[in-house]
C-alpha cells in the first residue's frame, strides 16, 4: 500500500508514459514549497520523467547549483528575481518591488537570462509576506491595516533576512513610518514567530498570505495598504538548457499554474500544517481533484 499511499502515487503510471530521462527538482523545505514541489514531482513523474527532489533550508543552498545540476524549482517571482538581483549587484542593491508578477518578470528578464533561468507561466496563486498582530491588539489599538501602525513602537518577529529589506522591516519603517524597535529573526511564518507574538514578546509578526492557521491561533493579518510587497506569484523556474531539451515540461507545469489559486494554496497549506498530512498526500489528492492526472 506504500506505493499508492504517500510516497509517489504516480509511479504506476510512469511505466506507461515515455521515458523522458531524469529531472532534478529542488526547493525550500517549508511546507508550502514542499507541497508545490510534491506536485511538480508527481506531474513530471506522470509525464515520464525520473524525478529527484531535494528540499533544503534556504534558497542559497539550491541556488548555488541551479541551473547547473538542478533543473526545476518551484519559485516565487519576486523571490527569485530579487535573489538574482542581490547576488549579481551585491547585498545592498535596490530590490524590485513591483506588485504585479508580469511586470516583475520583465524587470528581471536580464538577470534571469544571465543566470540561464527561464520562468514559465505565473500562477494566479500568490504568497507574499504579510504582517499580523493578535486579535486583542487589533481590537484594543484599532489596527486593521499597516498604516494604522504609523508612529507606533513595535517589536517585529520575522525571517532572519527581514532587517533592512523593503518588503519587510525597511518598508515598514520607511514607507509606513512604523517605529520598529527590534527585529527578532525567528523565521518566516514559523511557529516561533507566532509564539513570540502570541506571548506578547513581539507585537508584529511576519507570515505568508497563504498560511491558513492564523485565525485559529487568534491572529489577524494587517492589510498591506501601501503595497510594499513585490508580487510573489508561484512560478516554475526552469533551467533554460533543460527546457530546450524538454519543452514538454512547460506544458505540464503551466497546467498546474493555471489551476492553482491562492485559496487552494491556503487550504492545502492548512492540511499540511494542521492535519499534518504529508505534502505528497495533499499534492496527490489535489491533483486528482483538479483533474491534472
Amino acid at each position: 500500500d506504500l506505493s499508492e499511499g504517500s510516497d509517489s502515487p504516480g509511479a504506476d503510471d510512469s511505466s506507461a508514459a515515455a521515458d523522458n530521462g531524469p529531472v532534478s527538482i529542488s526547493g525550500q523545505s517549508f511546507p508550502e514549497a514542499a507541497l508545490v514541489a510534491a506536485m511538480y514531482d508527481e506531474l513530471l513523474t506522470n509525464a515520464g520523467y525520473d524525478t529527484d527532489v531535494k528540499l533544503v533550508d534556504t534558497r542559497d543552498a539550491y541556488m548555488a547549483t541551479f541551473p547547473d545540476s538542478i533543473d526545476v524549482v518551484p519559485e516565487y517571482v519576486g523571490g527569485i528575481v530579487n535573489f538574482l538581483n542581490s547576488r549579481e549587484n551585491g547585498a545592498k542593491a535596490q530590490p524590485f518591488t513591483a506588485g504585479d508578477g508580469a511586470e516583475l518578470a520583465t524587470q528581471g528578464a536580464d538577470l534571469l537570462d544571465g543566470a540561464k533561468i527561464t520562468l514559465l507561466d505565473q500562477s494566479a496563486a500568490t504568497d507574499t509576506n504579510a504582517f499580523f498582530v493578535t486579535k486583542d491588539y487589533s481590537e484594543s489599538e484599532g489596527v486593521t491595516k499597516l498604516s494604522d501602525l504609523k508612529g507606533k513602537s513595535v517589536v517585529l518577529a520575522a525571517a532572519p533576512d527581514c532587517e533592512g529589506r523593503l518588503d519587510c522591516e525597511g518598508g515598514l519603517s520607511d514607507k509606513y513610518g512604523i517605529d520598529i524597535t527590534k527585529v527578532l529573526p525567528l523565521g518566516y511564518a514559523s511557529d516561533q514567530t507566532y509564539q513570540s507574538v502570541i506571548k506578547g514578546e513581539a507585537q508584529l509578526g511576519e507570515t505568508s498570505t497563504t498560511d491558513g492557521t492564523l485565525e485559529s491561533q487568534g491572529l489577524v493579518v494587517l492589510e498591506d495598504d501601501m503595497q510594499i510587497q513585490p508580487a510573489q506569484n508561484l512560478v516554475p523556474a526552469v533551467s533554460s538548457a533543460f527546457l530546450e531539451q524538454h519543452p514538454d515540461v512547460a506544458d505540464v507545469l503551466n497546467g498546474l499554474m493555471a489551476a492553482l489559486t491562492t485559496e487552494d494554496l491556503t487550504e492545502l497549506n492548512g492540511e499540511v500544517a494542521v492535519d499534518r498530512k504529508t505534502p505528497e498526500e495533499v499534492a496527490h489528492s489535489y491533483l486528482e481533484s483538479a483533474g491534472l492526472l
Partner: protein, 254 residues
C-alpha cells in the same frame, strides 16, 4: 571569489564591529554564554566524575551515558527546549532571548568531554601513589585533595579545554532561536546572500576559538603540578581519551 574580498571588507569595516549588533558586542555575548555553560557543566560534571573516579566505580557508566547524550543533536535539543513550556524562549538576564534554553543545551553538550577526562584523570593516578597515601594514613578527603586532584588537574583541564572550544563553536546555533552571539552574523550573511558577511562571521568564530584553545592550553600547563621537560609522552591535545595500555602492562606480575 568576490566573497573573499567581501569578507575582508566586512572584517575591516569599523561599523561591523561596533554598536548593538556589532561583532564586538556579539562576541561578548557569545563568550558570556560559552563560559556560563562551561562553568555550569563543570559544576555539575566535575564533582560527579571526580567522585566516581575517587571511589573507582561507576565511571565507565557515567562516561558512556554522557557520551551517548552527545548523539542528541544540539540543535534538536535546543529546539525541544525552546518549544517546550519550560524553559521556553524567555529572556534570561544578560543572556537574552532563550538564554536559559541555550545554556542548558550547551551545558549538556559540554558534559561528555568534561566527565570523561575528569574521571579518567583520577583513575589514572598511579596505584602506587594512591597506596602510599593510604599507607601514611591520609583520609579519603586528604587523599583526594592533596594527591589525586593535583595529579589529575592537567588532564581534567584538557577535557575542559576540549569542551570550551566545542561549546564556543556550537554556541553559534543560538542564532537559530534568535539568541545572542556571533551566529547571528553567520545566519544573517547566509540568509541574505551576503556570503562575505557569513564567512567573516565564521572566520571570527574560528579565530576566537583558536585563541581560547591557546589560553586553555596555557592554563592546562600551569595547572600541571609536575613541571617537566616537554616530552612527547605528555598530553597536549584536546584529548578525550588517555592511553591506559601502558599502565596496564606495567602492573603484570604482582
Amino acid at each position: 571569489m568576490t566573497v573573499v574580498t567581501d569578507a575582508w571588507d566586512y572584517l575591516t569595516t569599523a561599523s561591523s564591529w561596533t554598536g548593538e549588533d556589532g561583532m564586538l558586542h556579539l562576541m561578548e555575548q557569545q563568550l558570556l554564554l560559552t563560559i556560563t555553560a562551561l562553568l555550569v557543566a563543570m559544576l555539575v560534571g566535575l564533582p560527579i566524575a571526580l567522585w566516581l573516579g575517587h571511589i573507582g566505580r561507576g565511571g565507565l557508566l557515567a562516561i558512556n551515558i554522557s557520551n551517548i547524550g552527545r548523539a542528541v543533536p544540539t540543535f534538536a535539543l535546543l529546539a525541544l527546549l525552546v518549544v517546550a513550556d519550560w524553559p521556553g524562549t524567555r529572556e534570561f538576564g544578560p543572556y537574552g532571548r532563550a538564554g536559559l534554553a541555550t545554556i542548558i543545551a550547551l551545558t549538556l553538550f559540554a558534559l561528555p568531554p568534561i566527565i570523561t577526562s575528569a574521571n579518567v584523570a583520577i583513575r589514572e593516578v598511579s596505584p602506587a601513589v594512591r597506596q602510599a597515601a593510604d599507607g601514611m594514613g591520609m583520609t579519603g578527603g586528604q587523599k583526594f585533595w592533596r594527591v589525586e586532584l593535583p595529579l589529575a588537574a592537567a588532564l581534567v583541564m584538557s577535557g575542559v579545554r576540549l569542551a570550551l572550544v566545542q561549546v564556543w563553536a556550537t554556541a553559534t546555533i543560538a542564532a537559530l532561536v534568535a539568541g545572542p552571539g556571533l551566529g547571528r552574523v553567520i545566519t544573517d550573511g547566509f540568509y541574505r546572500t551576503n556570503y562575505g558577511k557569513g564567512i567573516a562571521g565564521a572566520i571570527v568564530v574560528a579565530v576566537v576559538a583558536l585563541v581560547l584553545e591557546a589560553l586553555a592550553a596555557f592554563a592546562q600547563r600551569r595547572l600541571d603540578p609536575v613541571p617537566r621537560e616537554p616530552s612527547p609522552k605528555r598530553h597536549r591535545g584536546m584529548s578525550v581519551t588517555r592511553p591506559m595500555v601502558a599502565e596496564e602492562t606495567d602492573t603484570v606480575g604482582h
